[in-house]
Symmetry: C2
Subunit: 352 residues, 2 copies
């Protein structure tokens, strides 16, 4: 009559395979209608206190809890914030912790979503994810390290560490330019004058800014930039290792190297070790990011710290403000970086 599969009566005998209790079942068990149950759950007025108590007890007994999905589909607001990431790695999970900080006590729930780092889909995950969850599952989203920011989306969205010069989207970034300067100024103070750089991915804004910082610091010290001292590392170990070797095997090698990120710096450390160059005795190395591994390196890496967790916190705060319809005092937030001095840098020696 209602279904094509044979059933005893109108109620098909194929419930969800999982043990989920639905509102239907609560209503049936309590002998009331679904809407009454709904009213009880949402504390709407217009329910007899007897009925209320009875339904409540049934809910309790059956262990019923409203499906997030069904509720989201029905409601415009979900009170859920999404954190959209390409993959769950050190950076994005750190942002996630910050988002959790910001969400505490606000009544918002947090959903982190990732399709599992598929590399075949080269670009545009951010737009896809956004479409999949915005407006239905979440009220707004924090985009972590999106490579494309022309995601002119209507809904509330904040990008953390976006990788291109940004548009109208709200963003939170570390002060990459400042960080680059800090790194090089530190080396200058230690007496270094020939300072090399292993640069980052050419398509990323952050890489360019770090390099700018390098150039500015040298310029401020009245030093000319020797372009042969800049080698491309692409933010990845292998190219970085090659870049470091190139820098260290010329006739007049630098006494210090600033690597555009920690992974590159660690590769530089390895390259130096292979060449028998002592760090920090003969060569000083500074990285960027302060990933946990940097502290474990031998020697422990001096690096520029990005306040990742704080970035997640601020981004989430901005997002919540947006959701609530408040005006943001500033759309683009840039947080200070700080130098973390460890054992990979030292006063320039006389050997080289």
């Amino acid at each position: 009559m209602k279904t094509s599969t044979p059933a005893v009566n109108g109620r098909p005998e194929r419930p969800r395979p999982s043990g989920r209790v639905t509102m239907q079942q609560v209503a049936a068990e309590a002998g009331v209608s679904v809407s009454t149950v709904s009213k009880v759950i949402n504390g709407r007025y217009g329910v007899a206190s007897e009925t209320f108590d009875h339904v409540t007890s049934v809910i309790e007994r059956l262990g019923y809890e409203a499906s997030l999905v069904a509720r989201s589909l029905r409601n415009t607001r979900t009170d859920v914030i999404g954190v959209l990431v390409a993959d769950f790695e050190p950076f994005s999970t750190e942002v996630l912790k910050g988002a959790a900080d910001a969400v505490h006590g606000t009544g918002y729930e947090l959903v982190a979503y990732s399709a599992g780092g598929r590399v075949d889909e080269h670009v545009g995950w951010e737009r896809r994810y956004l479409s999949r969850v915005m407006g239905t599952l979440v009220d707004g989203a924090v985009l972590v390290t999106p490579t494309v920011t022309d995601v002119h989306y209507d809904g509330p969205v904040v990008a953390v560490d976006p990788h291109t010069g940004s548009s109208s989207l709200a963003t939170v970034t570390a002060h990459n330019l400042q960080g680059g300067r800090l790194a090089v100024e530190h080396l200058l103070e230690l007496g270094h004058r020939r300072i090399g750089m292993v640069t980052g991915r050419p398509d990323l804004l952050s890489a360019h800014l770090r390099e700018q910082g390098y150039r500015q610091a040298l310029a401020a010290a009245g030093l000319a930039v020797d372009e042969t001292l800049l080698q491309p590392g692409a933010f990845e170990p292998e190219p970085a290792r090659a870049a470091a070797r190139a820098l260290l095997t010329v006739s007049d090698p630098p006494t210090a190297i600033f690597a555009a990120n920690d992974l590159s710096a660690l590769a530089t450390l390895e390259a130096a070790a292979e060449l028998g160059i002592k760090v920090p005795g003969q060569l000083s190395v500074v990285g960027f990011d302060n990933i946990p591994e940097s502290a474990l390196a031998q020697p422990a890496l001096t690096t520029v710290e990005q306040p990742i967790r704080q970035m997640g916190r601020e981004a989430t705060r901005m997002l919540i403000a947006q959701i609530r319809g408040e005006e943001l005092p500033q759309i683009h937030l840039t947080l200070d970086t700080t130098l973390v001095v460890r054992q990979s840098t030292a006063v320039r020696g006389d050997r080289r």
Copy 2:
């Protein structure tokens, strides 16, 4: 006619506030019905190749992507795995990374869910979360550090680091007893004899096992346990700091402290610093977990490593197997812990 709110025709003028494109709009734009669009998206047979191409181009142009929520509600399978956590802190995010590892290449997507560490709801978040997402949003769930495991749920569920003696639920745990022994044996080998402990949450099995390990190691060395050397830290910074202060301000303080988790150990480090006690010169400290932060501490923390990430990986593997209806070779998996020696422990000095 169809709606109570005045509209031009059957189509109400109040779309979702966000910029989401729905299948409706794609269908209208392409001049076909929704079901045809659906068929195109899901690659169902029975669509003319012309129609297919046309609809595809419209989808492309509008940047349409199916709503995760609507799809989930409709389908039984969602190909999404849930990771349910009380809060996003170091432990749970590490598990998350492991889950991401395990999910790569499987076609499953990952959704991590947390209601934001509400402390007022003392117990039972795991059951609530499960009800909210199982069967609708996700095909199965990894429960991180649930305090209650009698969650006799029908659907596929695996618990990581469950905090009570377990039931029929599949679980993945670190060898907490062994870890506690490792920590204390290390301190004993360094010559320490008065060893304090900042204990964990009394309601958690893992905390008890770690304490047992402490007691066993001391007993094996022929040492009696001084009960005043055990102070409650509850696995959290503030109580742990207080516990550490209590241990360090008595007349005959311990020369070494084993903290039940890294957060407590870090708090202990801070307490020691505030009291002007040098680590490891005057006091050795061992933690438990090896969260990323422990390596960054000053001094870097010696700790017992739980293979957290691997635990997340294994749990997710087990979950996927369950979802696929495979028999699990073993329901309860226990992974070995290992000692990671860093700079917070040293041979007992003569000062104290």
